[in-house]
């Protein structure tokens, strides 16, 4: 009988402790958001590791926490329209300018660029290797080579479609043999390409940190048209009054300043600079 | 000596119970009088349980069922008692709380205590009710029934699952309750038990009440028809007699 009493007491104590722990945690649910902003950016940018390098420097300089929600460019811009982000950091110039024209963004400024490359099987069955991205795509289509497209309205996807257009081929509509859309991020697309020895357009940053290369190698690089321009846009408080416009502007100002630009340039993967700052002086 | 007739507690008039297409009780007409100890006997499927349910008022029926005393408390003990996964003590307290929610806690505890002592389970009060033996569980069910001070206690084959000594204990308790003046209605297929305990026997056949007599009359020789056959069939191998 005494045993049962002790047991019961022990169990009640354990339950009480668990509840107390949960209650103590509860305040973090409504986390302190005073000096923080929400930044919508893209998966490829986050996965390159840039933010892990850039944002701590900004926090040091300003005390402001930047919370990155990394989604596809399409969704990031949509977040801007909905007012779910305070600032946008994406790489699709046309779409960005449209957003500003619609009044959802105050202003769009160049901040940095990286470049795309085309990777493919080392044997290069379609003969795509070279410096010309448009010619490479034409050759891949002609040879009915396997090509993986992200197909997710991302900046990378938008760029890819532009290059196909330049080559005079409407790849998705033309149903080019071997062209496959995965509706996925850069990493999964690379995985698929690696598995099936296919060609794929990727940003250099994601490629450099990609571990699962299989038989793939960079085949096309250096074409000026492959440069991928990033823009930073503060969401317009006229449309969404709650936007933390001062804090967001502080970030925009910093990243465009010499300090921010140098921090971007200092980010390297395997001894190589990934992003090239080009804010207007 | 003139005796006042005992008051009627429940009256059935042409009452029937059907489960879907199956007629369980047909046109039952009878009365339960205060102080009765009624044994309802009959073959399996003759409608004993349904008659009990009908009298207890827990089943839909056609015809008339009248309680001639307003809102009395009734209790029922089933063949296999359903006990909650709680201690013996808590099972009793919940039963008391359900039946008479307005009772003060102290009074409730006192009743529970009395009930436990009555059936001899006081020492087991903190054990999980489901860890008791079959006989002990049935005694707990009886305690549960008795504790709420029911006007009528219904029992559906209460000793069918018990070994002989447990059966003896339960029968002793029932005789005790009856002696205290409680009204009992019990279904059983054990004619010896009916003979030992009941003041009145009702024989059911295929849902109908065939015979309704005081015990001595029922067991006198010359019972006609199927009832007689039933008696002979049972008695011929019922050792307790």
């Amino acid at each position: 009988m005494v045993d049962r009493g002790l047991n019961r007491a022990r169990r009640s104590a354990a339950l009480a402790a668990a509840c107390a722990a949960l209650l103590a945690w509860a305040p973090t649910l409504v986390s302190a958001q005073d000096r923080s902003i929400t930044m919508a950016s893209t998966t490829s940018t986050e996965q390159s590791g840039l933010f892990a390098h850039l944002l701590p420097a900004f926090r040091q300089a300003s005390g402001i926490d930047v919370r990155v929600v990394a989604v596809g460019t399409g969704q990031a811009l949509d977040m801007g329209r909905r007012g779910d982000a305070d600032i946008l950091f994406v790489h699709d110039r046309q779409a960005e300018e449209k957003l500003v024209a619609e009044g959802f963004g105050i202003k769009r400024t160049d901040v940095m660029y990286n470049d795309f490359v085309i990777v493919g099987p080392q044997g290069d069955p379609a003969g795509a290797k070279g410096r010309d991205v448009v010619a490479a795509l034409a050759r891949i289509a002609a040879a009915s080579g396997s090509f993986i497209s992200r197909g997710d309205k991302s900046g990378t996807h938008a760029a890819e479609l532009r290059y196909w257009k330049m080559a005079g081929i409407d790849a998705p509509a033309a149903r080019v043999t071997g062209y496959k859309e995965c509706g996925c991020g850069m990493g999964p697309a690379l995985n698929i390409a690696s598995q099936s020895d296919a060609y794929v357009l990727t940003d250099r940053g994601t490629w450099l940190s990609f571990r699962n290369r299989g038989n793939l190698a960079i085949l096309v690089e250096g074409d000026r048209r492959l440069f991928n321009q990033y823009g930073v846009i503060v969401v317009n408080p006229a449309k969404h009054p709650h936007v933390k416009v001062q804090l967001a502007q502080a970030f925009a100002d910093w990243v465009l300043s010499p300090a921010g630009q140098q921090t971007i340039a200092a980010y390297q993967v395997g001894g190589e600079e990934l992003f090239f700052p080009n804010a207007p002086r | 000596m003139t005796l006042l007739p005992a008051p009627t507690l429940i009256e059935l008039r042409q009452a029937s119970v059907a489960y879907g297409a199956v007629q369980a009780v047909r046109d039952a007409t009878m009365r339960v009088l205060q102080g009765d100890f009624i044994a309802v006997v009959g073959a399996n499927g003759s409608g004993k349980t349904s008659l009990l349910r009908l009298l207890h008022g827990v089943v839909a029926h056609t015809g008339s069922r009248e309680m001639l005393r307003p809102a009395g408390v009734q209790a029922m003990v089933f063949q296999r008692p359903f006990l909650l996964r709680l201690s013996v003590w808590n099972n009793l307290r919940i039963a008391l709380w359900l039946a008479r929610p307005d009772t003060a806690t102290a009074l409730r505890d006192e009743r529970a205590e009395q009930a436990l002592r009555r059936v001899g389970l006081a020492a087991l009060r903190h054990r999980p009710a489901r860890s008791l033996s079959g006989g002990e569980q049935q005694r707990l069910a009886l305690a549960r029934g008795w504790a709420v001070r029911p006007d009528i206690l219904f029992l559906d084959e209460p000793t069918a699952n018990l070994d002989p000594s447990a059966k003896k204990d339960v029968e002793a308790l029932l005789a005790d309750f009856a002696a205290d003046g409680m009204t009992l209605v019990m279904s059983t297929h054990n004619l010896g038990q009916a003979k030992r305990l009941a003041s009145r026997v009702i024989y059911m056949d295929e849902g109908r009440i065939d015979i309704d007599l005081p015990t001595s009359d029922f067991f006198a020789s010359g019972t006609p028809g199927r009832a007689g056959l039933f008696l002979k069939g049972e008695l011929s191998w019922s050792i307790e007699g």
Partner: protein, 251 residues
């Protein structure tokens, strides 16, 4: 927790990924990297809170559905069973649209916070708890409903007593709900935003590492998650044993 991306030699999937993920998982657990611990704690806290929030409403609704009789009851049960298959992404999307600044509850400002994740997961597990509780109570009433009714219990009182009576089955229901919550990624990804250090949980981390192509790490994190849940189950089993041998036996 996530090391800076490094260049690694190409590797063949099958022969090296699986053993590497086991050793990585072991290392992660042993070193108890603070970022990993925080991520695990957040997973448990979000899913645990969601289950607690859903428990009250879910158990009560399930018990009520087991005894209530009303026109259209069958339709309600059909809808409930259908909701068991609610995809987590769909819940995530719906909650996102609700909590978005452009949505009806935008003024709450809780999108991309753990609170939003708890709300989404609560909605996700509510049908599970309700449907299973209904089954538990209905089955129990089949056994003892007559007795309880005879004792004077009304329909709802009987149902609630049966929840108490079948508390270990209810505990299993809660474990099932917790499993569903802690293992899902669709809802928390969309409403939480997978923000590093704020709303990143185990499953979204695994999704992230997978999309980065770091499959061994992704698998290792999966193993860590499973290990944590296994530990939780052991704790619960010990708790149950403490309640007496009968509690375990008479499940």
């Amino acid at each position: 927790m996530v090391p800076a991306p490094r260049i690694l030699p190409d590797e063949r999937l099958v022969t090296s990924v699986v053993p590497e993920s086991f050793s990585t998982a072991f290392r992660l657990i042993v070193h108890a990297d603070p970022a990993l611990v925080r991520t695990v704690a957040l997973s448990l806290a979000v899913s645990g809170s969601a289950c607690l929030c859903a428990a009250g409403l879910g158990l009560a609704s399930g018990a009520w559905l087991a005894v209530a009789r009303f026109p259209g009851r069958r339709a309600v049960l059909l809808v409930l069973d259908t909701l068991l298959a609610l995809p987590s992404v769909v819940v995530g999307l719906a909650v996102y649209l609700l909590l978005s600044r452009s949505g009806p509850l935008g003024s709450w400002g809780i999108l991309f916070t753990p609170a939003a994740m708890v709300i989404a997961q609560t909605i996700l597990v509510l049908p599970i708890i309700t449907a299973l509780a209904r089954q538990v109570v209905a089955d129990a009433l089949r056994d003892g409903g007559d007795q309880l009714r005879s004792m004077g219990a009304g329909a709802l009182a009987s149902a609630l007593l049966m929840l108490l009576h079948e508390r270990w089955a209810v505990a299993t229901v809660m474990l099932i709900a917790f499993g569903r919550a802690v293992a899902e990624v669709g809802a928390v990804m969309i409403v939480g935003g997978n923000i590093d250090g704020v709303t990143r949980v185990m499953t979204t981390t695994i999704a992230l590492e997978t999309s980065k192509g770091d499959l061994p790490l992704a698998l290792a994190l999966g193993l860590v998650l499973l290990a944590v849940v296994a530990l939780l189950n052991v704790a619960i089993a010990l708790f149950r044993r403490g309640a007496g041998p009968l509690a375990v036996e008479l499940r």
